[in-house]
């Protein structure tokens, strides 16, 4: 009996009227955990009952604590007939099982009914007393922390990153049970909700066990998904990155301020005593260079203790000392040696995958490119229900678990992962970062997809304890830190200097350098010398699934780039259908890829981050949507233009048409460069060398198809031997393509958008943020559509959706839509569904104006750039290293602040100091801007107040509800809250809801129904977070939104799955003071105050 769960039912409010005669309700509550049920007394004739029950105690295994939710049912007592259920509350008690997370769940939670929605609220109190369990063979994994956040959580540091963990569980779907024919929709929905809650609990427990086995204590980047496979059941699967995290005992705070903001009540994680490899480093708030341990355990048996520094020394070659300044050639053998070591360490892992998408600076040595794999599977093939699953009694009351299935599904994913691994290897990479998996199911066909970014990780991070906690590296949101003493800085310098090897690559461009062998490239590629350091080769275009590394030097701003595609397919059954789909997939990927490249070029950019390619399957079509954030990486060469070639050159009018189009494209490129402030200064030099810097396109995308027959094929997405990037308009398709390119509406002024965590190039966020979900379903009424027609419709659908978002959020301008996450589905024959979840964050204008100014300064260079674009592409010439070298000589101090370091012959100690000091300077500078920004808030508000309507402002800042019982809970898909500091993670929020109606018209039609449901889901998430004591959800995402309707029957059903991390945040001290000023200045618009 290792745990005692205690629950108390306090009161209810706003209950629905259950007795029409008295207009009142006789409510009582059933509290159920596992198979134990308690009841409260009936509180007669009230809509606001006060039960004030005693403690209901459940003595249970911790295994059950992890799997089972606490189920609270509110009922109306009826003397003569059966008691009517009012609704239920499922409480995931997992956050209470971890000493560092929440300690109590207490508050008002919405009472939810799958037919009626929210019906009043109930006030409950839940606690858990855990006894220590020393059983080594235990099945539970209490205490393992889970984070949805795809970076190291803010108030933790990673002692060690163990690697990839995955698990899946399968069960039959209650909706497809025979019993479903005789039970009510409510009973069926509730069975499903409960089952999924159980399954995700079990899944989390199993993953936790794996983590414990690896010696970790947390899962970061936890991604859990449901596959509703219909007849063949429900699959709940999850992937994540196992880590050993250590709570920062001193929450990072400005060095000038003492750590008074440190919440004393925070439970400190037992520090790993003397094993802590870098005690002098880890003490106090981390400075950017001070680095706590961050290492990989090469094998499962690798214990925590062995990550101490003596290991590092043994692994770090002595020659590394002082050799820092040596040029690439000298470092060569050393580099390989170290890489080999890293590689071996990683290769011992089955899958060197990381679900994280942002890393500490310098963690990524090189990024190879996107690797992806898809396979089409038939679901009915493996449908072989077996009996006697060991835990089925827990999962299914009707006792028919399908024990074989997890293995089948495991094998499928294993196959894909192997493929990803081999792709990564082909790119010369030993790891895959930003890894994710997804499925799309239509009837019995299922497309499994996996994607990630092949990368080489820095050996220094793999071996030595030299890593900056991720907590502080984003200065835009966190106040920068200053080293509290110079001695510490020196220590850091020493440790960094001793690293040698690949550390030499300047942080701003190192990750762009190719990881693979130049002579033995995995695909035809156009390489050139890095525009930052001129030392290593870089590709001309880089596609990745990760967030933009913080150290990356970029030019201008980024923007959302989407490729959209529809392909009709014949309706089919079984294997024929699967074959048909898998033969279509390569073409779709190719086209999506081409579209992405074209659009990237059109915006004058050269890299994509956060790339997510979604291919959804419907009965008669496939829909592909690729979203990414385009940026101009300063290290990569400037992208060439797009050239159009006509097919019959003789025709004059035709030629005119072509040249017209060419001009339009060139104009657009110029305009876009202006909008996104892409004025790379290096271009000038490059022009000397070769007028057309990068004529040829090549992809970083590796993909392959595997049919259900497991046949593997590989597709080279590069444009083969074509020297220039030429669009031939020899058929209508190409014309459509070009149209498609040019019809992307520009974002309205004041708006930016991206699908990554933060917008490259924007830093000074205000606290104004608005998370939203928008869903659209489009009906294609015309049965005989062409591919082109379909594409056009789909394109318009997405564009209109974006336009509508910009319109809705116009009061937040200047603002950026971050983490724009599109999810496409084909729920029925002629329906396309697009769901978007994102956060709109406003920022201060000043910075933009500043950069505009600097943009003007660069106009001279821009002119040259434009001239360059006018040249036809045929003149393509290889940029020879010699030319580049001479160019490098000519170049003065480049904008890359660290490039001086890279070229200096003797680097090691002094230049490290140099680098540090510049870094610190930068920090100060940014701190300054932050403070300046906060002052400007006041002034801008003052300016703003005479405006007739204060509504724009009130939207911008969620205010604290003074005198109201409802606490404000912020929600954001990002891992941070601008201007605030996360002081505590309270646990993972993972909720699954079903809503059904048989009175669709009465509930305002499909839109009214879904609108209410989404609002209810938000409300329930907020309430649960507030009950845990939190005031925000970070890394929020809507994983699933399955909407089905039958308007003829006046029915609809919707399933939503959301997840995120519940946190407590406080405003940063600086901002607090400024906000008090602000309040004094303008009491009408008070900023947030910590709840």
């Amino acid at each position: 009996m290792p745990g005692k769960l205690k629950a108390k039912i306090v009161a209810g409010r706003h209950l629905p009227v259950m007795d029409r005669a008295s207009d009142l309700t006789d409510a009582f509550v059933e509290v159920k955990f596992g198979n134990t049920t308690f009841k409260t007394d009936v509180y007669p004739k009230s809509l606001n009952p006060q039960w004030n029950s005693g403690w209901f105690k459940f003595e249970v295994d911790d295994e059950d604590l992890q799997d089972e939710p606490l189920q609270i049912t509110v009922l109306d007592h009826d003397t003569y007939s059966a008691n009517d259920a009012i609704g239920k509350v499922y409480i995931d008690i997992d956050p209470l099982l971890c000493s560092e997370a929440a300690t109590v769940i207490s508050g008002w939670l919405p009472i939810y009914d799958t037919i009626h929605g929210i019906r009043g609220e109930i006030n409950v109190l839940v606690k858990v007393d855990l006894f220590n369990d020393l059983n080594r063979f235990r099945q539970s994994s209490c205490g393992v922390k889970f984070f949805c956040t795809t970076s190291i959580p803010r108030c933790y540091r990673a002692v060690m990153v163990h690697g990839f963990v995955e698990e899946l569980v399968v069960n039959e779907d209650p909706e497809y049970q025979w019993i479903d024919r005789i039970r009510t929709p409510r009973a069926s929905n509730e069975a499903r909700q409960r089952l999924i809650s159980l399954m995700s609990g079990e899944l989390q427990r199993k993953i936790g066990l794996k983590v414990l086995e690896m010696g970790g204590n947390a899962v970061v980047g936890y991604l859990q998904c449901f596959d509703l496979e219909g007849e063949s059941g429900i699959v709940v699967r999850a992937i994540g990155t196992a880590c050993t995290l250590e709570k920062l005992t001193n929450p990072p705070s400005n060095a000038q301020h003492t750590a008074n903001s440190s919440p004393s009540k925070d439970i400190r994680e037992p520090v790993f005593g003397e094993e802590c490899p870098c005690n002098p480093l880890s003490s106090g708030p981390s400075t950017p260079l001070r680095a706590p341990a961050f290492s990989f355990s090469p094998s499962k048996s690798y214990s925590r203790q062995s990550s101490s520094s003596d290991t590092d020394i043994s692994l770090t070659p002595k020659t590394g000392m002082g050799s820092g300044g040596s040029a690439g050639k000298e470092a060569g053998p050393l580099k390989t040696l170290l890489r080999q070591q890293t590689q071996t360490a990683l290769e011992q892992r089955e899958f060197p995958f990381f679900t994280l998408s942002s890393f500490p600076p310098g963690f990524l040595s090189h990024v190879g490119g996107v690797v992806s794999a898809r396979s089409v599977k038939l679901l009915d093939r493996i449908h072989n229900p077996a009996l006697g699953s060991s835990r089925s009694y827990k999962l299914l009351d009707w006792n028919s678990g399908t024990a074989d299935e997890p293995e089948t599904r495991d094998a499928w994913w294993e196959e894909l992962r192997q493929e990803i691994k081999s792709h990564a290897k082909a790119l010369g990479c030993h790891a895959v970062v930003g890894y994710s998996e997804s499925t799309s199911i239509c009837e019995e066909v299922c497309i499994l997809s996996a994607a990630g970014t092949a990368a080489v990780l820095n050996c220094r991070f793999l071996q030595e304890s030299c890593q900056d906690t991720l907590t502080e590296h984003r200065l835009s949101r966190q106040l920068p830190l200053f080293p509290s003493g110079s001695d510490k800085v020196e220590f850091d310098l020493g440790s960094s200097a001793s690293l040698g090897c690949e550390d030499l690559a300047p942080p701003g461009c190192g990750f762009c350098h190719i990881p693979y062998d130049e002579l033995n490239m995995p695909f035809p590629a156009q390489l050139s010398y890095c525009c930052c350091c001129r030392r290593a080769k870089v590709p001309d275009v880089l596609f990745t699934t990760i967030d933009l590394p913080t150290e990356a030097t970029i030019t201008g701003k980024g923007c959302l780039i989407q490729a959209r595609l529809c392909r009709l397919k014949k309706k089919g059954q079984g294997e024929a259908n699967a074959t048909c789909i898998s033969s279509l997939l390569p073409f779709m990927e190719y086209e999506l890829h081409t579209q992405l490249l074209n659009k990237l070029k059109l915006r004058g950019m050269n890299a994509l981050f956060g790339l997510r390619i979604q291919i959804s399957v419907g009965e008669n079509m496939l829909v592909g949507l690729a979203s990414a954030t385009g940026v101009y990486l300063s290290a990569l060469p400037s992208p060439g233009g797009i050239q159009i070639a006509g097919k019959n050159p003789g025709d004059l009018s035709y030629e005119q048409h072509v040249s017209n189009m060419q001009r339009k494209i060139n104009d657009t490129i110029t305009k876009n460069r202006d909008i996104y402030q892409i004025n790379p200064p290096e271009v000038v030099e490059e022009v000397i060398g070769s007028p057309i810097p990068e004529p040829r396109q090549r992809s970083r995308l590796f993909r392959s198809q595997s049919e259900s027959s497991d046949e593997l094929s590989e597709l080279d997405l590069s444009h083969g031997k074509k020297d220039a990037f030429v669009l031939e308009i020899d058929d209508t398709d190409a014309v459509e393509d070009i149209h498609c390119l040019l019809t992307d509406a520009p974002t309205p002024p004041g708006f930016f958008s991206c699908n990554t965590e933060i917008m490259p190039g924007i830093h000074n966020w205000t606290s104004g943020l608005q998370m939203f979900t928008s869903v659209r379903v489009f009906r294609l009424s015309n049965a005989n559509l062409t591919n082109q027609g379909l594409n056009k419709i789909f394109n318009e659908l997405c564009e209109n959706l974006l336009k509508s978002l910009y319109f809705k959020l116009r009061s937040m301008v200047p603002c950026c839509l971050c983490h724009l996450n599109f999810a496409v589905a084909v729920p029925e024959d002629e329906l396309i569904q697009v769901a978007v979840t994102a956060v709109a964050m406003s920022f201060h204008k000043d910075q933009i104006q500043d950069s505009n100014k600097s943009g003007e300064d660069r106009t001279a260079m821009k002119v040259i750039t434009e001239d360059q674009l006018q040249f036809p592409m045929e003149l393509s010439a290889e940029t020879t290293p010699a030319q580049l070298l001479s160019a490098a000589k000519n170049s003065g101090p480049s904008d890359c602040s660290t490039s001086g370091l890279a070229r200096a012959p003797s680097v090691d100690y002094s230049s490290f100091a140099d680098r540090c000091s510049t870094w610190i300077e930068q920090l100060r500078l940014r701190a300054h801007t932050i403070r300046r920004g906060s002052i400007k808030t006041t002034s801008s508000l003052e300016r703003g107040s005479p405006l007739p309507d204060g509504r724009s402002r009130s939207l911008r800042s969620t205010r604290s509800f003074h005198g109201s019982s409802v606490a404000v809970v912020k929600m954001t898909p990002l891992s941070f809250i601008p201007g605030a500091k996360i002081i505590k993670y309270l646990g993972i929020i993972n909720m699954f809801f079903i809503r059904e109606t048989t009175s669709l018209r009465e509930e305002g039609g499909v839109s009214g129904f879904l609108h209410t449901f989404i609002a209810e889901v938000f409300a329930m998430v907020r309430a649960h977070v507030a009950a845990l004591g939190g005031n925000a959800v970070v890394s929020y995402s809507m994983k699933e939104c399955v909407f089905m309707e039958n308007p003829n029957k006046n029915q609809a059903q919707c399933l939503i799955n959301v997840s995120g991390d519940a946190v407590i945040f406080t405003r940063e001290t600086d901002l607090e003071t400024s906000s008090t000023q602000l309040q004094a200045a303008n009491p009408q618009s008070n900023e947030d105050t910590p709840a």
Partner: protein, 357 residues
Amino acid sequence: MSVELEVFVGNNTMMDEDVYQLWLDGYAVNDAVRLRMEAGELRDCDVSTDVVLSDTMDQFRTFQMCEKLLHSPSKLANQLLFQIPPQKQAMMIERYYQFDRPFAREVLGKKLSKGMKKDLDDISSKTGILVKSCRRQFDNFKRVFKVVEELQGPLVDNVQRHFLVSDSLAKDYAAIVFFANSRFETGKRKLQYLSFQDFAFCAGQLISYWTVGAVDKMMEDIDVDLEKEFLHNLKDLKVLINNKDMLDQHKSLVCAQLRGRIKVFSEMDANFKNLSRALVNIAANLTHNKDVRDLFIDLVEKFIEPCKSDKWPVGDLRLFLTHYTSTAHMLETFRYKPIWDRYMGVIKSCVLKMYHD
């Protein structure tokens, strides 16, 4: 090809005050979109009708969902479904309970029953207020009436406590509730010239001085009804007109005060007995419910109209009423001075308020 479903839900409920007003005014979505497009507010945004339509639909849906909560505004503050900043909540409530005065004027004094709904169409066509908005306003009246009717304590406070509206709006509601409860006649043609504000002022006077709560704040009684005992005592005032000596004496006292001070002295002199009789008779008859209902029509017919026909300026009327009231104290045999003051104080201010074209 059509958009089947279109929703936008923000973590913080988003609403545009202008759109809210359009919704409150009872516009259908399409009309609201048209008005928004015409309003020019969106001119610089360069948006298509579709975008505005979808935005309007979203907001109208939100308002519809909020409407249930607005029916008992205290719920809005502790509901969980919508995250709305308190200032916005206050705005929503205040606007929701705001009403058009022409509409309120039509409904004033009528029984707030279901039967009224048929009349809403007529009121709508008469006032130009959309039926939907009329219904909202009417339902608000009914709801407030139902809640406040049975409550003890000051009427305005009760309205404010339960509906969280501003002070001025609460006062207006108090007037509406008071009129509906006592069913004062306001619909007669002769009363048509009076506005809602006129009546609201009179209601305020009656509530402040003639109800039980007016005399004794501690009294646990309902503020909605006039004090029965007071009305009964008013009968005693008849002595002022029945006693010939007293009437003459009263007249001479008033004349002495007003001689040379008012323009209409001769008319006053001629009419004094009629006017005094009218006022005292109105007082004496207030024991009957029917006569209470007719208070305003009686005042107009028996007092205001005669004065108007003699073209009394307002200033003269004020002087007359002031001295008419005060001189009664000098009548030696007149014993009902407190009741007289309580009666005349209200009558004076009501008459003065109602004395216009």
